[in-house]
């Protein structure tokens, strides 16, 4: 270990975050590997190491002879202080080299509240923040992940964004970097990169504004640069590269288990959900493939738990069969199977019951809204009876705690909808009592977040509720939920407000983002670190009105800040869905065989891949 780093590690909390040396970490020969990539997760180690995408790309790149990937995470404030004081630049875990020595610095953007950490990591690496101030002696800074679907707030800081699934695009970028190493002409590289499908080079686009502040146009500034960048997706997901080894953290991380990705995408079509739109189409792996992958991973990691991950695992066509076969194979080795999310129905509870010998943690359900009317608006096809039946099965099966997720601030929400949340929570509590769950043990946790309108969803045109409105709704719920047995948890409306600003913002936000970072904003998603006062000050100093972004109601004709980025879902579909939402009309799941006309399969020349499920024929006229 580098002695300077080692000395500092003795003084910080949780030094294992920075020590490296974990099982299955890959340390390649630096001199003999042409392309060096630092994968940067702009949050703390325990969060970053819980991210499956990191493991997939780490494996994909390190399998190649001509490239290496090492990891770097955001240092916690105590470590940052030590690093600045002792002039230790941001370093990778594997070789403890400074990040500035790598060819590519690749950020994953999982949530907006990590943006100041991105800037902080650039600065700690000794790189100029702004892309235009960097030169060929600096690494290329790239970024991907869900927040790259509205990349504009980070447009001035990042050289290129990857829109869509990294497995598809990364190999092409690596090849282009090898070429770049011959000529070292950044501009030439970026221009060529812009020709790769799914690559967005923000410096090659010109944004003009109207007098009212809205966007007048977003246009490529050079020939050969596409007007619209469409996401890339993996076709034949069953055969997609998947790691046979995972880096096994030595210290406890948030998701500390084998993550077996059973499918990608979700077709439920919840209208607030960005993931449901950007990860389309739904693609399942075959149970045989998954069983084989599980076998390999159990051997190579030593983990005692396998989690079946996806956006909605209970929807996986072969889930019952897969769970049964995994249990048969691994029970003797005392390996547990777990399901990260449950659908609101009895089937899901039965599944959970099958996999868990111990009813330790409570079960979590997400009805999202308190009344049937509002659940129809958001296309959450869940009835009150579904929820009550689900919790009945849960209590009957021996669980005594359930957690319910809701949102407030959804479009068209009224006081009755908010009251509906409390009413539903009380019904769940009553169900528990009726089924004889012991008083002291019975617990219903009601977790309420604030709706944030996200890009590429039918609600992208909708404004966010004001902080005052959200606070009032929270106060109302606090009052209504004052009951023994109910635990009420809510989200800081100031954080949700900032999330909305960053999620809906354009390039002009760069100034405020940079100023907030200069003032000391870091880890904005962590309530103990969040400094809304500093953010306010940053907006004031840069003359940016954050309310304008969060509370803006867009027209269908407006050019949205992310208009030039396509998730493959047609604008016509999003408008139709928005209209249906306002009328409270449900839209079916295309998994059932009836295409809902989102236009994605036609645009991306792909089809849903269902394992033993139905064929879905896309509506041709939908785009």
């Amino acid at each position: 270990m580098n002695p300077k780093i080692e000395r500092v590690l003795s003084r910080v909390q949780k030094p294992a975050r920075y020590a490296g040396g974990e099982w299955n970490a890959v340390l390649k020969n630096w001199e003999q590997t042409p392309v060096k990539i630092a994968f940067a997760f702009p949050d703390v180690y325990e969060v970053g190491m819980s991210h499956l995408g990191l493991q997939i790309l780490y494996h994909l790149v390190n399998e190649r002879d001509d490239a290496l990937m090492e990891r770097v995470f955001a240092p916690w404030p105590d470590m940052e202080k030590e690093m600045r004081q002792h002039r230790i630049p941001l370093f990778s875990l594997e070789s403890q080299r400074t990040v500035g020595d790598f060819d590519l610095l690749a950020f994953t953007l999982q949530y907006e509240m990590t943006f100041t950490n991105v800037l902080n990591m650039l600065d700690l690496a000794g790189l100029p923040l702004r892309a235009q101030e960097r030169s060929a002696q600096h690494p290329l800074v790239i970024a991907g992940g869900p927040c790259a679907y509205n990349p504009e707030p980070l447009a001035d800081f990042v050289d290129l964004f990857v829109i869509g699934e990294g497995e598809e695009v990364f190999p092409e970028i690596i090849d282009l970097v090898k070429n770049y190493q011959k000529h070292r002409d950044r501009e030439k590289f970026l221009l060529q990169a812009a020709g790769i499908g799914g690559v967005y080079v923000p410096s090659l686009y010109l944004v003009e504004y109207k007098p009212d502040g809205k966007i007048a146009s977003i246009k490529p500034s050079r020939e050969g640069v596409p007007e619209r960048v469409t996401k890339r997706v993996v076709k034949n997901f069953d055969a997609a590269p998947f790691p046979d080894k995972l880096v096994v953290p030595s210290t406890e991380v948030v998701h500390d288990r084998i993550m077996l990705e059973v499918m990608r995408g979700c077709t439920r079509g919840c209208r607030f959900c960005q993931a449901g739109n950007i990860y389309r189409p739904v693609r399942e792996k075959r149970p045989e493939t998954l069983l084989e992958q599980a076998r390999e991973l159990v051997k190579s990691t030593g983990y005692e738990e396998i989690s079946l991950v996806s956006l909605s695992t209970a929807d996986y066509s072969q889930v019952a069969r897969l769970v049964g076969e995994l249990l048969d194979e691994f029970a003797a080795q005392r390996i547990n199977i777990s399901l990260p999310s449950l659908r609101v129905d009895a089937f899901s509870v039965a599944l959970a019951q099958e996999v868990s010998r111990v009813r330790k943690a409570g079960l979590t359900f997400a009805p999202e809204a308190g009344t049937q009317r509002l659940r129809n608006v958001i296309n959450k096809g869940v009835g009150e009876e579904d929820l009550l039946r689900a919790v009945q099965s849960a209590f009957a099966a021996g669980w005594s705690a359930v957690k319910l997720y809701f949102m407030i601030g959804l479009p068209t929400e009224t006081r009755a909808d908010v009251e509906g949340i409390a009413r539903l929570a009380r019904q769940v509590l009553e169900t528990g009592k009726r089924l004889g769950v012991p008083r002291g043990k019975l617990a219903v946790t009601v977790s309420v977040s604030c709706f944030v309108p996200k890009s590429h969803t039918p609600f992208q045109w909708e404004p966010q509720d004001t902080q005052e409105e959200l606070n009032e709704k929270q106060a109302l719920l606090k009052n209504l939920l004052k009951t023994k047995g109910i635990i009420f948890r809510w989200h800081d409306s100031r954080q949700s407000f900032l999330e909305a600003v960053l999620a809906r913002g354009d390039r002009r936000l760069a100034a405020a983002l940079e100023e907030a970072w200069r003032l000391g904003c870091r880890f904005d998603g962590w309530s103990e670190c969040f400094r809304f006062d500093l953010w306010r000050e940053a907006f004031r100093r840069t003359g940016i009105v954050p309310e304008w972004y969060a509370y803006q109601k867009y027209d269908y004709d407006d050019i949205l800040p992310w208009e030039h980025i396509s998730a493959g879902v047609s604008k016509k579909y999003l408008i139709d869905e928005h209209q249906r939402a306002l009328k409270g009309i449900l839209t079916g799941d295309c998994r059932e065989g009836k295409c809902s006309g989102c236009g994605l399969c036609v645009t991306l020349e792909i089809a849903p891949e269902l394992s033993g499920g139905k064929e879905v024929a896309p509506l041709q006229g939908a785009v």
């Binding site: 294992a16 040396g21 970490a25 500390d256 005392r334």
Partner: protein, 235 residues
């Protein structure tokens, strides 16, 4: 059930693992080693293994001990080689030998631990001045050290738990070797000794630069000498 006493070292990046991290890492390594692990009973079975003494975060260990229970006999050589293939960087197994399944636990028989402590000097120091300092420290009849129990400040006397204390000056550093009481009662931490040396005898050291290595564990002698760590017989 066959029980094996394993001696290992914990250095390099692994020294930054907490005891809980080490437990977790060991369970996964044992699973990767595909040894016939004995599991605990109950709803949530875990492989049966136990350590002699937790190592604090940041403290390296040269000769640590761990007992592992297996369902059948495996040659110690095989255990060593399998474990060394699956432990992460910094954890190395040096020895393994069978112990009686009736042998008392490592934790119960632990008596003393030996440490090597390095600190940077805050001022000039000769070897003879250091020796004088150590002698006067050891001549004290009691050394109070602050402890914290449930947010209540208390003090304890660490002097009876200091069995040996030696040192030398190396360039701008002082290197101390100490043998201290370890285990469930009367445990003395090397930092407490260092603080005592600074406060009681004015040893010119920078406490925040202190780097600690545990170099040995000493166990109570039992009738069957095979049942304790090798180093136990030294004193």
């Amino acid at each position: 059930m066959p029980r094996y006493r394993v001696q290992f070292s914990k250095e390099g990046p692994a020294r930054f693992l907490s005891h809980l991290d080490l437990v977790r890492t060991t369970e996964r390594a044992l699973r990767r080693a595909r040894l016939p692990l004995a599991f605990s009973q109950g709803f949530n079975p875990h492989p049966r293994f136990s350590f002699a003494a937790p190592l604090p975060v940041g403290v390296a260990g040269e000769q640590e001990y761990l007992d592992i229970e297996l369902e059948k006999n495996i040659s110690p050589k095989e255990i060593i080689s399998r474990l060394n293939m699956v432990f992460p960087e910094g954890i190395r197994v040096k020895e393994a030998r069978p112990v009686s399944d009736r042998a008392p636990s490592l934790m119960a028989t632990l008596k003393k631990a030996r440490y090597e402590v390095e600190m940077e000097l805050s001022g000039p120091l000769t070897n003879s001045a250091l020796q004088g300092c150590l002698d006067s420290f050891l001549a004290l009849s009691a050394v109070e050290a602050a402890t914290k129990k449930k947010d209540r400040q208390k003090t304890k006397d660490i002097r009876p738990g200091i069995y040996r204390l030696q040192g030398k000056v190396e360039q701008k550093k002082v290197v101390l070797e100490m043998e201290l009481q370890a285990g469930s009662s009367g445990n003395v931490r090397p930092e407490e000794v260092c603080r005592g040396l600074l406060e009681k005898c004015g040893l010119p050291v920078l406490l925040q630069t202190c780097r600690i290595k545990r170099t040995g564990l000493f166990f109570e002698k039992s009738s069957d000498s095979r049942e304790s760590g090798r180093t136990a017989t030294e004193e």
